[in-house]
């Protein structure tokens, strides 16, 4: 009798998600961090409410970038420490699947929850509905981008001594275009411009990154892991 084979991607994804769900702190920490940054800022600033409103999109985006960094550091290191990474590299399944799977997991566990939390945060800042909508649109394009680039840079910093320091140092400059695009689009939309073409350009940036970054990650890990 032939065994019914499950798709590889599904098996890998299940393993990844199980690992996270068994240590819920890993799941919750980035979200708590995201929330606490956004709660602390109004307490620390002396801005009146309407100015706080104006700064909210930039602030949400910054908090999102920083929160995404938190869960990236462990993404390859744990697998390498347990020898699983070498097994995955040696196995006949294309390593590309593993990389894609890491990107998807990271997005599912940080990008998506942050997007779900954003409307709640928007209430705290009393944002108008159009702004919330635009923030969500830019987050929808931007968070997969962060995940793909993050997985790539995590592969680069894996073999360094001060990886806690190097990961944000390397990743944040790469995310500057994303940040500029996102905040600019929100700003334009708030001023009443039509931003369809700008969103499309931002989307093309995402397509470019999703196409190239995982391939680069495969290359990096194959070159550097013996």
């Amino acid at each position: 009798m032939r065994l019914k084979q499950k798709p590889v991607l599904q098996i890998l994804l299940k393993r990844e998600l199980l690992l996270y769900f068994r240590t819920p702190t890993l799941l919750i920490n980035p979200l708590l961090f995201f929330l606490s940054v956004l709660i602390l800022f109004p307490l620390a600033s002396v801005m009146p409410m309407h100015e706080l409103n104006m700064n909210a999109p930039a602030l949400i985006w910054l908090a999102c970038l920083l929160a995404s960094l938190l869960s990236l550091d462990a993404i390859w290191r744990d697998d390498q420490a347990q020898g699983i990474l070498t097994q995955l590299l040696l196995s006949p399944t294309p390593f590309y699947y593993t990389v894609i799977n890491k990107c998807i997991t990271h997005w599912l566990l940080t990008g998506l929850p942050i997007m779900l939390l954003t409307p709640v945060v928007a209430l705290l800042y009393a944002l108008p509905l159009t702004t919330i909508y635009m923030i969500l649109m830019t987050l929808m394009i931007g968070t997969p981008l962060i995940s793909c680039l993050g997985v790539m840079i995590a592969a680069v910093t894996m073999s360094t001594k001060q990886h806690h320091m190097m990961l944000p140092m390397l990743l944040l400059p790469l995310l500057i275009p994303t940040l500029i695009f996102a905040t600019l689009i929100i700003n334009h939309a708030e001023q009443g411009f039509v931003v369809g073409h700008e969103l499309l350009l931002f989307l093309s940036l995402l397509v470019l990154t999703v196409t190239l970054a995982p391939v680069a990650t495969v290359g990096i890990l194959k070159l550097t892991v013996e």
Binding site: M152, V156, T157, S159, T160, K161, Q162, H163, M165, M166, M169, L170, P173, L174, I176, P177, I180, F181, L184, N187, H188, E198, L201, L205, L212, A216, G219, I220, L223, T224
Partner: protein, 246 residues
């Protein structure tokens, strides 16, 4: 043909060749700088709007030019490192990093000094300035990164990959130039692109750019030579050539 290139890339050969090249390069750099600085300070007329203050262009533009040119050279060296694992290419990449960072810093500082009297501010979040700042950041980060990797072979490879990633970032930054300027009017550096620059002003500028490029090459060669000596310090040929010097 291929064996010729291979011989050129062999370290002892390269060391000896650059040793012969060095005096000429030194004279060329000194000569270009002498003419360039003289031309910039005395031959070029004062600008009708900015007066004598515009002369900082003769430091600012060459250093900005070099900061980008060195990154391009570094990117080619990085590609050679990743694809063909050429030892010399990794050394070139490593030697380029501090030179490029220095010129980027110089471009930013001179730009700031120029900006204060002309625009009334040291710094503005203009796209050109920001992208130059990102370039500086990337130079420094890659430089710092290289020292944190314990495995030397991996350090070169990963740094090369980072340099190449930085190249992908450059056109994206350039797109943001167009985007940013459409919203943020106000002072921009586009006045450089003014085609009608007086030939009397242009000539010293071109000479200064040539001088800076030749200076970069000089420093690059000097750094490479010392790096080669350090890496090959246990080899016979190094002992022989150093013995000659002593």
């Amino acid at each position: 043909m291929l064996t010729n290139i291979h011989q050129m890339l062999a370290l002892p050969k390269f060391y000896r060749f650059t040793g012969k090249l060095l005096p000429y390069l030194f004279v060329l750099t000194a000569g270009l700088f002498c003419y360039g600085i003289f031309g910039a300070l005395f031959l070029a007329p004062a600008d009708y709007q900015q007066g004598e203050g515009f002369r900082i262009i003769y430091v600012h533009v060459p250093s900005a030019y070099c900061s980008l040119a060195i990154y391009s050279i570094m990117a080619v060296a990085a590609l050679l490192t990743v694809v063909w694992r050429i030892k010399l290419a990794a050394m070139i990449m490593k030697a380029c990093l501090p030179i490029g960072a220095l010129f980027t810093l110089l471009a930013l500082i001179t730009g700031s000094i120029w900006g204060k009297p002309m625009w009334g501010t040291w710094w503005i979040w203009d796209a050109r300035l920001t992208s130059e700042l990102i370039l500086l950041l990337w130079y420094l980060v890659v430089m710092g990164f290289q020292q944190t990797v314990s495995n030397q072979h991996n350090a070169n490879l990963l740094a090369a990959i980072l340099v190449l990633i930085g190249v992908v970032n450059l056109p994206i930054i350039h797109f943001s130039v167009i985007w940013w300027n459409t919203l943020h009017q106000g002072p921009t550096l586009t006045r450089f692109a003014m085609p009608a620059i007086d030939p009397q002003m242009l000539r010293p500028l071109l000479v200064m750019i040539a001088a800076s490029s030749s200076y970069c090459l000089l420093i690059l060669v000097l750094k490479l030579r010392s790096e080669i000596l350090w890496q090959e310090r246990n080899k016979q040929w190094v002992r022989e050539s150093i013995g000659d010097c002593i």
